[in-house]
Assembly symmetry: C2
Amino acid sequence: MSLRIGVLGGGQLGRMMALAGYQLNLSFSFFDRAEDCPSAALGPRFGDDTYSTESLQAFIDSADVFTYEFENIPTAWVDMIAAQKPVFPGVKSLAVSQNRLNEKQLFSALNIPSARYHTIQCANDLTAAVAAIGLPLVVKTVTEGYDGKGQFLLREAEQIEQCWQLLGSSVPLIAEEFVQFRRELSIIAVRGQDGQTQFYPLAENHHHRGILSHSIVPAPHLDENTQLTAERYISSILQSLDHVGVLTLELFETRHGLVANETAPRVHNSGHWSIEGAHCSQFENHVRAVAGLPLGCTRAEKPSAMLNIIGEYPSSAQVLDITEAHLHLYGKTERPDRKIGHITVLADSYAELNGRIKKLADVLPNPMALNLSR
Amino acid sequence: MSLRIGVLGGGQLGRMMALAGYQLNLSFSFFDRAEDCPSAALGPRFGDDTYSTESLQAFIDSADVFTYEFENIPTAWVDMIAAQKPVFPGVKSLAVSQNRLNEKQLFSALNIPSARYHTIQCANDLTAAVAAIGLPLVVKTVTEGYDGKGQFLLREAEQIEQCWQLLGSSVPLIAEEFVQFRRELSIIAVRGQDGQTQFYPLAENHHHRGILSHSIVPAPHLDENTQLTAERYISSILQSLDHVGVLTLELFETRHGLVANETAPRVHNSGHWSIEGAHCSQFENHVRAVAGLPLGCTRAEKPSAMLNIIGEYPSSAQVLDITEAHLHLYGKTERPDRKIGHITVLADSYAELNGRIKKLADVLPNPMALNLSR
């Protein structure tokens, strides 16, 4: 009677999908070998130590339709599922987000501005890239890499050797122009199986040591044109990939307008505010799309901020004592640099919001707080 | 690491508590013998066919702190739990709501107006009650009884025999004055372990054949005094019972002011709107209280309506196509008069809200819709 969604991955994103989906009488199963993964309590878990084909088949048998909560998964898994049952978003979306070169080519084909780049196969290519694009250069692996991992900021030509030693084993690499940006923004959109599309307001994202520290939504001081441009960009990506579900586009705001950075074919950390801050959250909208249901309203009635809880838990009581603060804990053990929860706080104005963010910074034990209280 | 709450009962109320509590890294277990109960997917389930002492002990061993999602439970169960671990709300709250005579005496002791009544031990007492209070009389069992079950509306003295035949086996009974009321209201409040108390706005409740059909919150055309009076009444009940968790007080609005009808020591159907309509839902606030956390804000920013889905499911797609409608399905099979889900719809004004309620009535298959579309 209840449609079951199989989620590749059992982390906090899968957990929040399930918490949103149970309301609609959807049920969930997860493919994650960690017994204590954040989604473990919310549905049957599959996946043995080696992620054997047998355990993947048992997972496929357990659900009606499939999705994923992270993009760094073997395409062979998705191919095996897709041969038997529907998977949303489809393999096209996955192929683009799994490979920065594919992504760059897509941006280019759709006339979406993005940083100039050079493909790197050997150390000499790095020298050529410096000559062609100039310094600094951001050198990245083409596959994998998240939260600033698998990246090297090449400031001087003397660092080429060091960079190559660090990343050379992962060719091809990509060397990108270092974009001078005012701030980082992201737009999250959701597209249904019927092509219906909804856009969340742009988020302003702040990082600390490569990890998202906090987001403010709608991004302050934004002219309407920026939101519409971002919607146009992500809309063309969604259509070109025939994407179903949530897609995130990270952008740089520069003097010359928006520059696309990267995509994620899934719910995104910069969209966690939407659980309380939007009529219908990114998680509910994603599972609605995967289940073939109509999409919900993405509007935010007032400003909100999302603060990540990194490495160490704050006192729940101290957080909940702050007006309009909502606490989300993922059931993960504490570990440096690990995302173990988040807080969303709302307010009637940005000024009031900033006051509440400062209060939260005072009760957050992790170094993110330093970034917040400035 | 995660505090586990044991819930007596695994129905939709337990399910919605769990969906709210997982966010705070609380986890849940349930005592319900139905394998397919609505909470089954959200935590381990205990309770064999006979609800044996062994199965209750296994349930007690499974959690750190306990609560219940319905009040018609054997007090022996609660006593057995309370001898070993904390239970919120406590046995005092349960004793009052399980017995209409205790409840009447509490209202009286706290100077809360309620209907005049007579205790009934034999058929002659009914005759005496008619003489003392007049007709019509509402004759009710003292224990059990919900959704209009275990009640008889005595309109004429000739019906005494019929009434006695129906209810006489369940003495003592209570015969209550039939209160001429304008409408039924309910107030929901939550009290923390530290005595901190928060009140939700009054709901206006509509019934159809004894079952709650829909609620509108805040109750329209309400003067501030009515809300404050209701808060004073429920506040005195909470304090007198040293209640921890959510408590609901059903009230009649009459020409002479508010008249208390009954209490429920738990989250309540007339509070389901709060999931989307209040900053912090009755479910989250209840589990916060049980877990010893600070309470969340109970304010509603705009009007909302909650419509029960009774007996038969509507098309999810048709419901979700209506602006600001949120669908909640409990994973129960269809059966006449059974609450199997609800819809919450919000709007910026009561006029807009009424328009959306009418649209929802058009897509609801159950007879509740008749009541709505008038």
